[in-house]
């Protein structure tokens, strides 16, 4: 089975670098599955888990926004923050989710609501990355 190299880079370090068979991401225009030999593509990403398929196993990485660059045999995802599913603290993410939901329910000013919504998205993305594993 042919592979492509998946790299996930944040301003602080390289989070992930592996040969995978398929990458599934959520771009701002919709969900995308990238197989080897894909046409070169650039797209911004939503806050959502990235799925990397290696053989029969799936790995999940919670990527908080950023964008993806696809080349023939290489996919580079640049994000401000990204965490491997295995590194995520589930209880913390769950707390963050509850907190964000509470804040959203309280209906504060616009900025706070926006912030809470972003936090909620991140928390959900984190949780999904773990649970799907």
């Amino acid at each position: 089975m042919s592979t492509l190299r998946l790299e996930i880079v944040t301003p602080e370090r390289k989070v992930y670098e592996k040969d995978v068979n398929m990458v599934v991401v959520k771009g701002i225009a919709g969900e995308l599955g990238i197989l080897p030999n894909h046409i070169p593509l650039v797209t911004p990403l939503k806050v959502a888990p990235v799925k990397a398929k290696i053989g029969n196993t799936n790995e999940f990485i919670a990527v908080h926004g950023g964008f993806m660059e696809v080349r023939k045999d290489k996919v580079v995802i640049l994000a401000e923050a990204a965490e491997l599913g295995a590194d995520i603290d589930v209880s913390r993410a769950r707390l963050a989710k509850e907190r964000a939901e509470r804040r959203l329910a309280q209906k504060q000013s616009d900025i706070n609501a926006q912030r809470a919504e972003m936090a909620l998205l991140r928390a959900i993305s984190r949780l999904e990355s773990v649970i799907d594993q």
Binding site: P11, L41, K72
Partner: protein
């Protein structure tokens, strides 16, 4: 004479204490410098990749009309100054702050013509003393800052450019060459100017469109540049502190040896005088 000797001895002791501290600070700075350099290096792939993608879009048709790439008449200039929280780093803060102040005095006649963003306590205090209002400030960063630490101030500065609050954004920081050399630098961050197209760029598809991608990417890129400058500033800070503390240790060693010499001389003189007194006393009794 005995009193003078006691004073010298006390002075030696105090210099020895100072030397111990400066020596320790030098070694701590050296260790932190290494870490800061590594962090600066680790942040490079991110910025490089982004630049690559942006330049490939900008070199394509239609991409370069984005407001962040184009210069417009300058009515107001913003400065983002990166300083440290703590002193004892030689000329690290003084140099960069002097440079910024001079530039402001040269280019602007009224406070309406500029805006200042500051990272670091030293810079904040400096501008506060001169009654220059800061748009935003951030202090108490850790020695290995994270992108999220400065995201807010960087985003705010970039936003100000986007919505036309100011027409230029300059970045002031200490450029790191090596542990001995750091050069205060004023760099124009926005507008980004024409990004030259590199060679062998693949023809990308853009989803949803190239303008859309550029809209997301350019502000992020500008923020990334701020982060890179911050990391470089941190490396410079530790380099400067290491050098300054190294010099302080050397000076302390020299002062101690000078004082020890004076002390020994004084001790010898006291002994000689005592002998002379005893001898002359014995002579007088005969």
């Amino acid at each position: 004479m005995a009193k003078g000797m006691r004073e010298i001895k006390r002075s030696i002791k105090s210099k020895q204490n100072t030397k111990q501290i400066t020596k320790a600070m030098e070694m701590v700075a050296a260790a932190k410098l290494r870490k800061a350099q590594e962090a600066a290096l680790a942040s490079r792939p991110y910025a490089d990749k982004m630049k690559e993608v942006i330049s490939s879009i900008a070199s394509g048709a239609g991409g370069s009309k984005h407001p962040m790439l184009q210069t417009r008449p300058i009515k107001r200039t913003a400065y983002l100054v990166i300083t440290s929280d703590r002193g004892l780093a030689g000329g690290y803060n003084a140099n960069i702050l002097r440079k910024v102040l001079l530039t402001i005095k040269e280019n602007h006649r009224s406070p309406e013509e500029y805006a200042v963003f500051v990272i670091g306590r030293k810079g904040r205090d400096f501008f506060a003393r001169r009654n220059i209002t800061l748009v935003d400030e951030i202090t108490g960063l850790s020695d290995t800052p994270k992108f999220s630490d400065i995201k807010e101030i960087a985003a705010r500065a970039v936003k100000g450019y986007e919505d036309g609050t100011f027409d230029e954004l300059h970045l002031a920081y200490n450029k790191f060459y090596n542990a001995l050399t750091q050069v205060p630098t004023l760099k124009q961050l926005l507008p980004l100017g024409q990004i030259e197209a590199g060679t062998d760029k693949p023809d990308y598809e853009y989803e949803p469109s190239s303008e859309e991608v550029l809209n997301v990417l350019l502000p992020k890129y500008a923020e990334t540049l701020v982060f890179s400058a911050l990391l470089e500033g941190k490396a410079s800070e530790f380099g400067a502190r290491m050098t300054a503390m190294g010099n302080a240790t050397k000076n302390a060693t020299k002062m101690i040896s000078d004082l020890t010499l004076t002390y020994n001389r004084a001790r010898q003189a006291a002994i000689t005088q005592e002998i002379a007194e005893i001898v002359s006393g014995a002579n007088a009794q005969q």
